[in-house]
């Protein structure tokens, strides 16, 4: 079967690629577009290491055909930082040492970002349930959950009005 020509948007950039119909979106991201941040863990939608956003929805790239991306919008871990400036979630994962081997980390960051866009002030339980499809065999999850909660707090602080922010500082001083 000849390859298909697919036009899509990845991290805001218009992208064209050729792929076979058997290739998953994860195969395409890694092997055709060389965006290797998304990882393959299980290949069956159980581990979440390949989490990406497809038209604003969190999905496992291993459960999407590459050809399905035609005309749609894909966001991956590669689009998360602003150049060299880390996203608050990335920064907090470093501060909390919320990773060890790092295989699950890109997927967890993408999933956590999706959560905070939907719910800027999640409870610990909400974070744990939202991330139930992201397996981590190193950390035991506690540091990940704490990093997400801390990032959420930092992002709420940063988006609060300057007056409110300064009153918080005065109270704590």
């Amino acid at each position: 079967m000849s390859k298909r020509h697919v036009t899509t948007s990845v991290n805001g950039d218009s992208v064209e690629f050729l792929c076979s119909t058997e290739q998953t979106l994860l195969d395409v991201l890694r092997d055709e577009l060389f965006l290797t941040g998304s990882k393959e863990g299980c290949g069956s939608g159980d581990c979440g290491a390949c989490s990406v956003m497809l038209d604003g929805r969190l999905v496992c790239a291993c459960l999407v055909l590459g050809v399905e991306a035609n005309g749609r919008e894909v966001e991956t871990i590669e689009g998360m930082s602003d150049g060299e400036k880390l996203h608050p979630l990335q920064q907090k994962f470093l501060e909390h040492a919320a990773l060890q081997c790092g295989i699950c980390t890109p997927g967890i960051l993408v999933a956590a970002k999706a959560l905070l866009e939907k719910n800027p002030d999640p409870t610990e339980t909400e974070v744990r349930y939202w991330l139930a499809g992201n397996l981590c065999r190193c950390t035991g999850y506690d540091k990940i959950v704490r990093a997400v909660l801390d990032a959420a707090a930092a992002m709420r602080g940063a988006s609060a009005k300057p007056a409110a922010a300064s009153s918080v500082q005065m109270q704590s001083a």
């Binding site: 079967m1 298909r4 119909t21 058997e22 998953t24 290949g43 069956s44 939608g45 159980d46 979440g48 989490s51 497809l54 929805r57 969190l58 999905v59 496992c60 291993c62 459960l63 999407v64 055909l65 050809v67 399905e68 035609n70 999933a111 999706a114 959560l115 349930y129 939202w130 991330l131 139930a132 499809g133 992201n134």
Partner: protein
């Protein structure tokens, strides 16, 4: 493998009537089977670009859910969740956040797992499928779709366009409960869906009870529903419902549960789901 994206139902039916055609909705089951080599379609027909398969509508006849609407979209629909909380809660139990973003109601039904969470809830709710094919459309009750593990009643070229749920009458409620040995990310050992309607005196006038994971197909248990109708859903009625639910089970022994355990739990869950549906009907 060919890949096609029809944009209307006629085109989709024509493509699906070819030899070796396989429908693709959310892909959360199909892509796993493709990878495992369990299916080797000649052509995959992606139904998501058929507009009638997407979205949730409310009209004088009740609710319509496009068959390729994702669980995430349905879960965010507050008015539907208020009308049919059991159905919406059931489909939100399917998989992770990532799976919810892709998995569809039509896919959960047509994949024909005996343990599919949305199916007993849909059966209990009296949901009907709009089945489209090359010869037009027919309406089929959800309980008639699954014919065995991995098998469904759709003919070549047929697919589910959408689901119809009635507008629940006043003093109605529904609920779905499943047992898994953890809190998330597992397949039902037993699932039980109940919907019921009460009259002004609090007497049950209509009920439907359905079970999952206790037979080769999801079961509509009419004897369990009869145990509720004409009662005030009191303890005696609930015990009779539980006994009828357990009696209807024809489960298998597997790693998730033994026959005896599933039979017992089916009664317990049916009772709890009926109590929850009753509370919703009176609340």
């Amino acid at each position: 493998m060919d890949y096609q994206t029809p944009t209307n139902a006629e085109e989709a039916a024509a493509l699906l009537s070819q030899d070796g055609a396989h429908a693709l909705a959310g892909g959360t089951d199909l892509l796993v089977k493709l990878r495992a080599g369990a299916v080797t379609p000649r052509v995959v027909v992606d139904l998501k670009r058929v507009p009638r398969l997407r979205g949730i509508e409310h009209d004088a006849k009740g609710w319509r859910i496009g068959a390729a609407t994702t669980c995430a979209e349905i879960g965010e629909h507050a008015a539907l969740a208020s009308a049919w909380p059991g159905v919406v809660e059931a489909l939100q139990l399917i998989g992770s956040t990532q799976i919810q973003g892709r998995a569809t109601l039509g896919g959960n039904l047509c994949n024909a797992s005996p343990a599919a969470d949305s199916v007993p809830a849909l059966i209990a709710a009296g949901a009907k499928c709009e089945v489209a094919g090359t010869k037009g459309q027919r309406e089929v009750p959800v309980e008639q779709i699954v014919t065995g593990p991995g098998r469904n009643a759709l003919k070549p070229g047929e697919f589910i366009l959408g689901f119809r749920l009635p507008e629940p009458p006043g003093r109605s409620g529904d609920a779905y409960l499943r047992l898994i040995p953890r809190t998330e990310m597992d397949i039902a050992v037993v699932g039980a869906g109940v919907s019921l309607t009460l009259d002004d005196q609090g007497v049950c006038t209509h009920a439907r009870v359905a079970l999952g994971a206790v037979a080769a197909t999801p079961l509509l248990v009419e004897a369990a529903a009869r145990a509720l109708v004409g009662t005030r859903v009191d303890d005696d009625a609930l015990e009779a419902l539980a006994a009828a639910a357990s009696a209807a089970c024809k489960p298998i022994d597997d790693k998730r549960g033994t026959v005896a355990y599933r039979v017992k739990v089916a009664g317990v869950l049916a009772k709890r789901a009926a109590r929850m549906a009753f509370e919703r009907a009176t609340g």
